[in-house]
Symmetry: C4
Subunit: 284 residues, 4 copies
């Protein structure tokens, strides 16, 4: 009898925990999510400031302590996530589950591998924690359309990027020959790097043509890039326009004869059974 109660109370606790950790529409869940995101932001700030030499020398120890505190909190959270979910394996191997694991692993690994330099490398992955914020996207209905449009566009943009890659290799090689291995165009890979910097209109200026022929060729490339830049924008926009098109408005009233729905708002006879449709006050 007592056992069952314990089990039942354990079950209730799990359910409550699930409501707090996984769902964000409960009061506890809201607090939990805000606390989580705050921790992520603080952690990112700690890693960032720790990389500044001047700060690292003075406050290195405090930052490390804060880092450990957050990591332990995240570890507890990770354990609770596994405990209160029904299918733990599915969570562990989901994208967010792996991100959660990678958020806590690096600091523990720094025990066994003392190479401080490499430690820093692993530390960076923790920034992926920020992606947890993305869970909040569910609230924002706006992102739904966007992600669908981007998903549909991704194939087309992929094909387009493949084409750009080919273009960039040829442009880079030609520029290498034109500038004759000078003025930063020391080799083909570096010239390809220049071509990408130019075609994407980033234009650092660390590598730039100096010869008249090189500059003429670069000018053509830039004007070409003008038109090329239009393509990905066009793809995404066309997809968004298609999705944004308001669906044909249908009446919310069902036929009084056959009960079917989906009539036009201006229909008077049911298009399924031919029976007369009732007129709701909303229509008057």
């Amino acid at each position: 009898m007592k056992k069952i109660e314990r089990q039942s109370s354990g079950k209730k606790f799990k359910e409550k925990l699930f409501g707090v950790i996984y769902e964000s529409d409960t009061l506890g869940g809201k607090f939990f999510n805000i606390a989580l995101i705050t921790c992520v932001v603080i952690s990112v700030l700690i890693v960032s400031f720790d990389s500044i030499e001047r700060i690292n020398i003075r406050y290195g120890k405090i930052l490390l302590f804060a880092e450990w505190t957050i990591t332990i909190l995240f570890t507890i959270e990770y354990a609770l996530r596994i405990v209160c979910i029904k299918k733990p394996l599915k969570y562990i191997f989901s994208f967010m589950g792996l991100v959660d694991l990678l958020s806590i692993l690096p600091l523990y690994l720094s025990f066994f591998f003392t190479g401080t330099k490499y430690l820093v490398v692993i530390r960076t992955f923790r920034i992926l924690r920020v992606f947890r914020i993305l869970k909040m996207w569910n609230f924002i209905e706006a992102s739904h359309h966007l992600t669908r449009a981007l998903y549909i566009s991704s194939i087309k943009i992929g094909v387009f990027l493949l084409f750009i890659l080919v273009l960039v290799i040829i442009i880079g090689s030609l520029m290498y020959l034109i500038e004759g291995g000078k003025y930063g165009f020391d080799n083909i890979p570096q010239s390809i790097y220049w071509a990408i910097v130019t075609l994407t209109t980033v234009g650092y200026g660390d590598i730039a043509p100096k010869t008249p022929v090189g500059r003429s060729f670069a000018s053509i490339i830039m004007l070409l890039g003008y038109g090329i830049l239009a393509v990905p924008t066009g793809i995404v926009t066309a997809e968004l326009v298609k999705l944004a098109k308001a669906p044909h408005v249908k009446s919310i009233h069902s036929c009084p004869s056959c009960g079917k729905e989906g009539h036009d708002t201006d229909a008077h006879f049911c298009k399924f059974c031919g029976g007369k449709l009732g007129i709701s006050p909303a229509h008057e």
Copy 2:
């Protein structure tokens, strides 16, 4: 009797003043607004030229005098605005009211706080006066669609910018590790700065990757940025296209049998009662 007259004449004066200051479709209002904008432009020019050392040394006193003249004019205007409006508090705490106050405050504050250096800081806010010009936007019908589309898009673009922020932090940290704290990638905040400069295709070139691995990574980021840049453009465009869409044209004639409207312009038989539709002279 006289009191009422005075009151009434005072009321009339207030009304006239209101027409000049707040409305821009009266003759006085038009002159007032043009004078106002001229003053704002002159004031902005004075502040700008005053910041040029060479000019400041030679003409500093004249510019200060001109600055004071405009500030006093704006103070009088501010007082009149409060006097002639019915709900002064609503104006004072409105966006434009606060801008108006901030336009005159800095120079007066420079009396009490003699730190000339800080004075300059406050002075800049006066440039916000330029926003008064925005009141003229009301004239231009064109901006209406635009502002609505931007308002609707702002949420989506906000979500998108959040995503970019996450992306930029991860890219910056990875670049910090790749370039090993050299060539301007001294710490993570600076590397994030580089990531923003690159992804937005600004590309100053003050920080740029030097190692082959760093350049390869930067190339991928730039090509990615190509596709990413398309998203905000797509969002705004899709919204503008949706708003610009002309409503579906329907016949304005009602059925002579049942009197219902909403027929296609090419319909001959009423789709509600099956009766023959009449033909109006407008079709000829």
Copy 3:
């Protein structure tokens, strides 16, 4: 009798000349236009190469001679244009007429004003001759939609640019205060210049923030610019999409009863007189 003949032959010559100079669908006109554009291109090349010091020293005289030859040819052409048109004044004060005059004037003016330095200034206007090529735009139907869309968009983009101007002044002033008049942000005009360079994503890098606060602020500006860049593109695209929308297809057949046109392709009864419409083979 002879006089009339002479008059008539003069009139015929004028008409022929008009066909050659102003119209481009005749054989003579085509040749004339191609020759004209060739001369413009050569002239532009001459001016360009003449500005290169090394070439100017060696070939300066030859280039000057060539320049004079083309200018005289253009002067004759200009005279003929006035002679053979019916309303010469309308041509002279039209945009293309003024461009034609400005194409020949500078070199003649160089006689009276010996200042060689200023001569060069006037010389540049001759490049406007290139605009004559634009006359060929008439051939290309494609540009019609484009120019209309740009014309409609120009007001909206004008409003938008006004807003950008305000934004850029405020950003520039704030940056002047943040960077404290150092690192190229010597005064407000220069800081505004930086703001424009940044917001348009040009990013020369001659002026760039160095302080952490300045870089943070610049980062926000750049991310903002991301969204802002979307607006002009959105405006033009929405206009083009609206114009590009194919007009509702109508039948090319007129009603056999009343002769009216403009019926839908699927209509069987004339929507104007109610008469039965004939069916053309194209419909079967």
Copy 4:
């Protein structure tokens, strides 16, 4: 008898070969294409790494050997392509045929022309081999819409680029006069180069205005460029939107009285004869 068999087996071999080389939906064809693309990528990498001086000194010979191996393989492939196709001449003079030839020619030509420097020039063309990958585009349906939209847009963008060219020449010349042949604006061609770099928002920064007038003028150009950049994007997007538009949905059912089709899905009475429309099971 034997001869016919031989002929027939030769024919069969040819057909099999054709299936492997030209078609990519057979198992052999898939393997062949993947091997081909792998070779192209390796070859591009070899040429790229060979251009890096440090690598060239150490591994130059190995890379040359690998280069020759791939070239010989490509030569055999080229021969087989000609053998197994029915109309060899059509293939040889097609775009892909010429690319295939240019992929193998340079290395053989390096025998007769010993100028190693020029050899490198020809070598670059082999990178065009990468275009073979483009044959894989056929698989991806996504590119179809894209290429059609780009083809339609190409004329409009061509007109637009012509206009940009004119603009850029005038801007460049004006800037040459403003900056007075200093700060990198040494001559008109170089100033035009600057104008292109600026208007396309690349902005290297190797040439940048230094005088206040020059910077003011450049600011105007950049803000102009803001609007101009919108045009090619608008053109491509409008075309893509037009193509992406779903055709207007009509009922697939014909009128039971007159048998005509093309009714709206919500129509109850035939718009051609006025007869009542039947209801199909598809509507339930």
